[in-house]
Amino acid sequence: MKKALVKLLGKEKGQMFRISLFSIAISLIVGSVILILIGKNPLSAYGNLLQGTGILPKYSYAGRQNMFTDFMSFLDALTPMIFASLAVSVALKCGLFNIGVSGMMLAAGFAASVTVGMSGLAAPVAKPLVIIIGILVGGLVGGLIGWLKYRFNINEVVSAIMLNYTLMYIVTFFINSFYADPVSRQSTPVTDASRLTLVGVKTMGLKIDIPLAFPFAILTAVLIKFIMDRTTTGFEIKAVGLSHMAAEYAGISIRNNIIKTMVISGALSGIAGVTYFCGYTGSIQPGVVPGMGFNAIAVSLLGNSDPIGCIFSSFLITILSKGAIYLSSQQGVDIEIADLITAVILIFAACSEFIRIYVTRTVAEIDQAEGER
């Protein structure tokens, strides 16, 4: 039993990846138990999740829709999640905990919506401008948190929580006062020219939503990975994250790196915000802090706070959240069941360090036992 587990999880290379897969497998089993308990067939339920996200074909489709349209709208939801989880990851590398992703997303999304999103600018100008505004606003808020931390020793968790609410209420005030759509009670939708998702493009007899920023998200993840692992900037950020004292002794400026990291993290949150509010949804719901910013923390940690890992974990979590709509309509189960399974996955992912220690220890035990023989 022990040997089988060790063999399954490997010794060193790729161990973390295998352990992640292992914990996902276990949590899917636990999820199955929950589904069986409420009298549903787990296999068809999981199938529904994949069907809802366009990875497996559904039994029937409405006009102008097929698997590909579902998959594209899945990518549309996935894009902001990747950016948001990258934002959390970068901050974690520097030992900072960015709980303010939500507020930054909202601020960036709002700023881009009311400026470019409601102007008459043409698409080639408007779309890049939306992203630039997102980067600027997000970076500014992030930088503010970093500066407050360094200059006044204000814990970043506190300032981020305070800013989340402050920004949420400010945005809500402006939307309700000036930009509210009388029917939907959300903010006025952004113009098609500025929207980062091409909505309802008619080709090949289909009506597809194309998330323009998706390739950009993958590129950003690779870029962040490169910066973190291969450049001095990344090295300094990680050094500060590991030990302030050691970094200072090595002549690395803590101040610069804290602020730099928060600016990068904020900029990524800003892009997440514009891809969410000026892409996926197209409008902003007042009075709510987007939950994605909090989920991104868990997603980032599930991906072992590695930029490439973030792509995979975002993929997994978005399948659950996006596929849940189809699942609940097909099986007649509450939509929360998907959140429940997500939470179970995260619990097991949180234990991955324990599994790693356990495996390492068991390997040592087995080696010793064999040596004695």
């Binding site: 905990f97 709980i99 407050l148 006044f152 020793n153 204000i154 814990n155 968790v157 506190v158 300032s159 929580i161 305070m162 800013l163 989340n164 609410y165 402050t166 209420y169 400010i170 809500t172 005030f173 309700n176 006062s177 007042p286 009075g287 802090v289 909090f294 989920n295 923390i297 868990a298 940690l301 509450d334 929360e336 069941i337 959140d339 429940l340 997500t342 939470a343 179970v344 995260l346 619990i347 992912a349 949180a350 234990c351 360090e353 324990f354 220690i357």
Partner: protein, 320 residues
């Protein structure tokens, strides 16, 4: 006007304070507790469920369901906190992840269960347990004192409960051996261990206690602000409580100050709106007042803030 500010401010600040005290216990022992949000929600869920069920068992005017629901909430919060204990101490999970996960699970689980239970027991589709708003009382005599009398006017019973709890927890934290062990575990677990203290046991008790205390806070919000249990209970009060305890530099009295400041700023903003007769959309603008004020004051007060030294570190005996 000052009366309403004080009355509403206290009713908001004290539940937040009791959550913060829970957080202080956990964090002083060295376990980061972002789970307060989930703990208060889960506790409120248990308490509200109990209140709804007991309402059938007791006569209409009986106060028993009210008190019993607090007891059940306390127990439920402690029980749910064991998940955080299990993840952080037994499975050596990253404490931040564990906290976030405990929150996510609490939202999913309580919403799911509320729907299921409503359907099974009362055959209605609702994600709410409707509660009565808590009764209030006014202390005769004392409430006549100008200005300060407001403290004794329209008091929720839970405010008294929270004050009592605060005094007890303060005593436990600073005057008993357990309190000293707890603080030692948060600052230097290795020397605490060397002195014969079971670090993991002390920490486990602290986290479980924080669950119970958060639950009392959550239950109080369920009885006062929302008069029901629904997913709306997850408004972020738990996160605010964390902000308050960091503002209060992880000590009980300054944290009370932070909570009161926050509560009064909040109720003052609302009173201001009514006074000036501004349109309702301006409500949102005034609501930022407590948050901005807190941030502004932190600039002056957080110079010497220092978290417990071993906060967030997994205790590893072999590291000594």
């Amino acid at each position: 006007m000052t009366d309403t500010i004080i009355i509403d401010g206290l009713a908001f600040a004290l539940p937040m304070f009791v959550m913060s005290v829970g957080g202080i216990f956990s964090e002083k022992s060295g376990i980061t507790n972002l789970a307060l949000e989930g703990l208060q929600g889960f506790g409120a869920f248990c308490g509200s469920l109990a209140a709804v069920l007991f309402a059938y068992g007791f006569a209409g005017s009986s106060r028993m369901p009210y008190y019993l629901s607090y007891l059940i909430a306390f127990a439920g919060g402690m029980l749910y906190a064991m998940l955080h204990v299990l993840l952080c101490i037994k499975f050596k999970a990253n404490q931040i992840i564990s906290g976030v996960v405990v929150n996510i699970l609490a939202v999913a689980l309580t919403t799911f269960l509320t729907k299921r239970i409503n359907e099974a027991l009362f055959s209605e589709k609702s994600n709410k347990f409707v509660l009565e708003t808590s009764m209030r009382f006014t202390v005769p005599g004392l409430s006549r004192i100008p200005v300060l009398g407001a403290v004794f006017t329209n008091v929720y019973p839970f405010e008294v409960l929270i004050i009592v709890i605060a005094v007890i927890t303060w005593y436990v934290m600073y005057k008993t051996p357990y309190g000293m062990h707890l603080r030692a575990c948060g600052d230097n677990p290795h020397s605490a261990d060397a002195a014969g203290i079971d670090v993991n046991r002390v920490r486990a008790i602290a986290v479980i206690l924080s669950g119970g205390l958060s639950a009392i806070g959550g239950m109080s919000y369920a009885y006062s602000i929302s008069a029901s249990f629904s997913p709306d209970i997850y408004l972020g009060f738990g996160y605010l409580a964390i902000a308050a305890l960091i503002f209060g530099n992880w000590s009980i009295l300054p944290t009370l100050g932070a909570c009161l400041l926050f509560g009064f700023a909040r109720s003052a903003g609302q009173a201001l709106i009514q006074r000036l007769g501004m349109p309702s959309t301006y409500n949102d603008l005034v609501r930022i007042l407590p948050y901005v004020l807190t941030l502004f004051l932190l600039i002056f007060f957080s110079k010497n803030n220092r978290s417990p030294r071993a906060l967030g570190e997994i205790y590893d005996k072999g590291k000594r």
